[in-house]
Symmetry: C2
Subunit: 197 residues, 2 copies
């Protein structure tokens, strides 16, 4: 398994620390410097370049990891079970924070890697949500008045907004999930009947 890239334990630990620090710093400021990231990771700048030959490579790895994270969380939700609106509520509740972190990285990746290399890799994650929305539309749970692509964007954008509000202390994390779910289901036009209370 790990025989191909046999690394020493401390190296592995540092790589983790670097990626975590990169996520945090780049999330706040997409143009954060390598020096800044290295310092935040508690690591020398040379060490950083030892593991990631360039800024581009670092962002690329970070993007991959964040994509895999999102995919894992999304995959853990049984999207096809039950009514579509209930499935969406489960999905939102379990993954809005991860999905937002993923979006944070996306902003950086767009700058560093360019739009082309980002779109298709990102589309894979997005597709899960769109499939669920399509099912809900067919079941009549979601409104067919608005374009499906727009609805997916709206859901995504609301999850991001909620995460940001929580991050900046303007919204209580506990009540955020409920507010988010009810707002999203409303936005999709399911009406109060399906949502219940």
């Amino acid at each position: 398994m790990t025989s191909a890239t046999r690394r020493r334990a401390d190296a592995e630990r540092n790589i983790e620390a670097i990626l975590d620090a990169a996520l945090a710093r780049l999330g706040r400021d997409p143009s954060a410097s390598m020096t800044e990231i290295a310092k935040a990771a508690g690591v020398g700048r040379v060490t950083l370049y030892g593991h990631f030959p360039s800024r581009e490579e670092l962002v690329d790895t970070l993007f991959d990891r964040s994509l895999a994270d999102a995919d894992a969380v999304l995959g853990a939700v049984d999207i096809d079970a039950g009514r579509a609106d209930e499935a969406l509520a489960r999905l939102v509740r379990s993954s809005w924070r991860v999905l937002d972190r993923q979006r944070t990285v996306l902003v950086v990746a767009l700058r560093v890697l360019g739009p082309e290399r980002v779109r298709d890799r990102h589309a894979a994650v997005f597709a899960r949500l769109e499939r669920l929305l399509r099912r809900g539309r067919e079941e009549g749970a979601f409104s067919a008045a608005a374009p499906p692509g727009w609805q997916a964007t709206a859901v995504y954008s609301l999850m991001h907004a909620a995460a940001q509000e929580v991050d900046e202390g303007r919204l209580d994390a506990a009540q955020a999930a409920e507010a988010l779910v009810s707002t999203i289901l409303g936005a999709l036009g399911g009406g109060p009947a399906g949502t219940g209370r």
Copy 2:
């Protein structure tokens, strides 16, 4: 009137061009260089510095102008007339594009001017929307389940998402307004009764 800052006509024209170019370039990339902006404005770099002594000053002016724009458009809508949901629909229809441009500048201003100097100036524009939401809540047109601050953020964030989708060609500008209004009213929990079709 214009006696205080008596400028020549070509200077005035260049200043306009610079601000327009700055809006466009900085909107796409918040760290766009002065050289880039000058070139986009069809103006020499020296001329740019002649009118705006520093990058900070340029962003500051741009921020002011964009805030004034937004305020003007918002002010032109009669917020207190009719039902709250209808008033909101009017507001959204007439100002989502301007309001999004305003948000674009806000991102840049946050980086360059710092959060403190931005918040209060920005709050003035935001307040109009919040007041309308409060009225709608009292009238029962909007749900009281979610926090009011969150609802305002949600509306704002949806307007931004729609503008971005249109900018990137994924959503038709003509149908965007309708989709946006129905999504926003739904998100606020008005239910399908108030919205009609």
